[in-house]
Symmetry: C2
Subunit: 565 residues, 2 copies
Amino acid sequence: MTQKRIVIIGGSAAGPKTAARARRLDPRARVTLIERGPDLSMASCGYPYYVGGVFDSRNSLIETPTGVPRNPGFFKNAKDIDALINTEVTRIDRAARTVHWKNVLSGEESSLPYDKLMISTGSTPKMPPIEGIHLDGVTTLQSMKDADYLRRVRDEKSVKKAIIIGGGLIGIETAEALQLAGIQITVVEVMDQLLPFLDGQLAKLVENHCRAKGVNVILENGVASFLGENGRLTGVKLASGTELPCELAVVAVGVKPNSALAREAGLTIGETGGIKVNKHMGTSDPDIYAAGDCVEICNCITGAQAYAPMGDLANLQGRVAADNMILGDSVHFSGTINTGICKIFDFAAGATGLTEAAARAAGLDVETVVNASPDKPGFMGAGLLISKMIVERSTGRLLGYQCVGPGDVSKQIAQGAMAIRGQLTVEKMLDLDLPYAPPFSLAIDHFIASVHIMDNKLKGVMRGISTSEVRRMQCSGEKGTWFLDARGPEEFEAMRLGIGEVLIPLGALRRRLGELPEDKDTPIVCFCKISLRGYEAAIILQDAGYTNVRVMEGGIMAWPFPREK
Amino acid sequence: MTQKRIVIIGGSAAGPKTAARARRLDPRARVTLIERGPDLSMASCGYPYYVGGVFDSRNSLIETPTGVPRNPGFFKNAKDIDALINTEVTRIDRAARTVHWKNVLSGEESSLPYDKLMISTGSTPKMPPIEGIHLDGVTTLQSMKDADYLRRVRDEKSVKKAIIIGGGLIGIETAEALQLAGIQITVVEVMDQLLPFLDGQLAKLVENHCRAKGVNVILENGVASFLGENGRLTGVKLASGTELPCELAVVAVGVKPNSALAREAGLTIGETGGIKVNKHMGTSDPDIYAAGDCVEICNCITGAQAYAPMGDLANLQGRVAADNMILGDSVHFSGTINTGICKIFDFAAGATGLTEAAARAAGLDVETVVNASPDKPGFMGAGLLISKMIVERSTGRLLGYQCVGPGDVSKQIAQGAMAIRGQLTVEKMLDLDLPYAPPFSLAIDHFIASVHIMDNKLKGVMRGISTSEVRRMQCSGEKGTWFLDARGPEEFEAMRLGIGEVLIPLGALRRRLGELPEDKDTPIVCFCKISLRGYEAAIILQDAGYTNVRVMEGGIMAWPFPREK
């Protein structure tokens, strides 16, 4: 039997996973891993936490849990994988089934034949062609080198002010890291919100939390130029004209697939710029597979092609590619449902599936629910969760779920992701049997409570209105809607919206109905802290003949706008 | 329109939920809630945490989150529900559609007509007919009164030693609570393991943790009699003959459904002793519904009737019953998949679906995987998870999932429960898109890693052996199996099983193959700390021609038996 030659280009996530899996499936294969940089299998998602000082050992990023460096010696001894580092593949010769490589340090060049080739060349941070972007002090956070640089900035305490360009996942994680390093942070984002995997209202809650932690956030503004003196960054000039002094700028406006090598080899490239792969992670050449940040994949919900450069997906794709490279095309990769999560100070923010905006853009008829409730009973030291659930109205199938707050967001998003994979509908989720005990959950878990509210909305038992819509009314000076706060007087004294609302505690509402507008068609919006009492108030009013009663979903806890107090 | 009369017997969980939901669906109905005890809607699952001092405010158990006592006044004002407390329903007259009640304090008796009746009479702790069980100092932990008593025991510090009879959920939670109260605890259990929702091996890990926290655990032994002096408990005598001195004993050997009232009214009672209900939560009388701890329900996986007295299910059933009582039978309750979780000191232990034992008893052909891995990267302060996954071999469908350890067990169990509800198979779970970021998860989440191992086992890429089977070999003195520990020498020095294993670090194995037995048919078992290196070692040995190589699943971390060091 001839020895199968497996060559893998790229040593970050998908590549090493493919190599290890291929080795396990075929102990006789010759497996070669080629990496342009000096490190292999770096825990790159951990960079922000190293920079922020969550841990201090740089080695943690490049070692196994038992402290063995993941260098070529480790790959050889533990896995019988030949790993070439500091080695760039310059060309793929598909006809000769050979890759040509060059050692970037020694200049040595050679070639290597393959039977099956894997391209996992990853991605590169987008660097917009802005004046001054090459100044000292402008960086990204994508490589070990970047992490080393920013960690040095932290340790030397030489920087007072930094600007993060981009309010996505990496931008937010970097903002937290540098803020924890004692640096005054401004995040500049061209869109009108942070974290595009969230709809605007939940993103606004995250923004408020960032501000509360001392991070300045500037939305709907971009960087026009980086300002410098003697080659060093001194500030940025925004599109609006404002100049902000800073000694450090981190560009985090997304990444683009490293697909040039594949393109030059004549492989098909997708619309997103990622390498086109089939469900087996195969490219347009039957002997070449691709995985990780360099490919485009399928969105399982819309069926559209998507670019989803996530570390977990890279690993899963690498496993699928290895199976198919060794055993023949037999295993599928389903695609992504865009699940993501990040920690931001005392909050977590996560999402899975489609946002409302994305679902509507895809032409889907959706119903949404915003829900605010603690993750467990108050006496157990609860954390608040504010979530948004999106379902398809005609089928009741779950399309998306987002959650933010200090509570156990991770479990909520995991539940949402599993429900989407299981194609669960509202009807099937009404009586989920989830793990309940006071240290972990409410008797009716937050997720199930959201399903119940959704059921109420779909059946017309409850009509909702978003805080955003109420805010729009407030800002436009639109009159005619009557706002009812159903909390108690002490709660009202401690905190209130101040949108002209009338306080009538739920327990007093039935005997104080006379204080409501005489016209039963008056639009009325009820709420309370989380709008459970608001919901019960709405039912009392509907029963009293009011025809146009809505509940402000999520209540004051989901209100991300300024309050009177 | 005539006002619908809804009467609900029982004011703990299912009852108040039904009452509140019925009120919201029909604001004109007359809703009456009748409770035998003095309290309503108690957070009874919180009792152990009050007893243990996790919180000190008794009111937290009987108040709304904003501090309003859930008394009859609250139910009247906030929900327009008539709540009668200290009131026992003595008889249901189905022909006259009337319930007869008696005030247990005043002795007043009367009756109340209903159009729809709900029975949510809950459960009562089983009290085995053991000599001395009525001594002062023998109690349960099911009522506010019990909680008050045990909290007083805690605060007075009058008890030095207590015995918990029963090692199920309530027993374990009570053991922790009283241990935290400074009392020396012994748990006595008749079965050969704690927590019957776990298979033995995982239960043993929980037992070890209890012991490490100073709790004495006695298995396969029961209480023969309670010993006393002057009416006060002084000790227990075990079935084995041993006498253990103690001043407090908590009986936690399970609960039985309070179905006598239903039985006397001629309603059908199920085999488990719970009231028989259809999928609408309706009893054998079309005007009578039942929910909560007093009913028996369906096990969604086996289809068998089950008794599942859990607070979360009671709430979900109450909602279904209310919908059907008010709107006509239109909503289903699916049943239970036996999801449960509990905190025990620094561990959590949870399960969903069938145990291996239950699945085999149901005649299912199963494959299992035990997996040990951290819940997130080590540099983020990971917690270990040890889990067991059970699937049906022929279909690959997930049947059950258990998890214990200091890590984020709750999310793991939630994922398992959602997967079972979504009827997911191994194939569909190989590439789950779950929320990944270092503060929350590994790039390949523990759950997905278990699926990958399962896939390997089902495809014959890996052969596993349980720690229990290895232990059996060790204890029986069975010779002939060769044990390979694939860790490093420092790890071996710090901790090792001592079952005659040979240490050959994975990285040295290929060049040290000569140290293995000459006979290629020798049974070999490979392992390491979590058996990832053990798995890679097994593949090397198989490639070297060894025909009978197995991996000890979960490695040393899943080994619950005594170690050499």
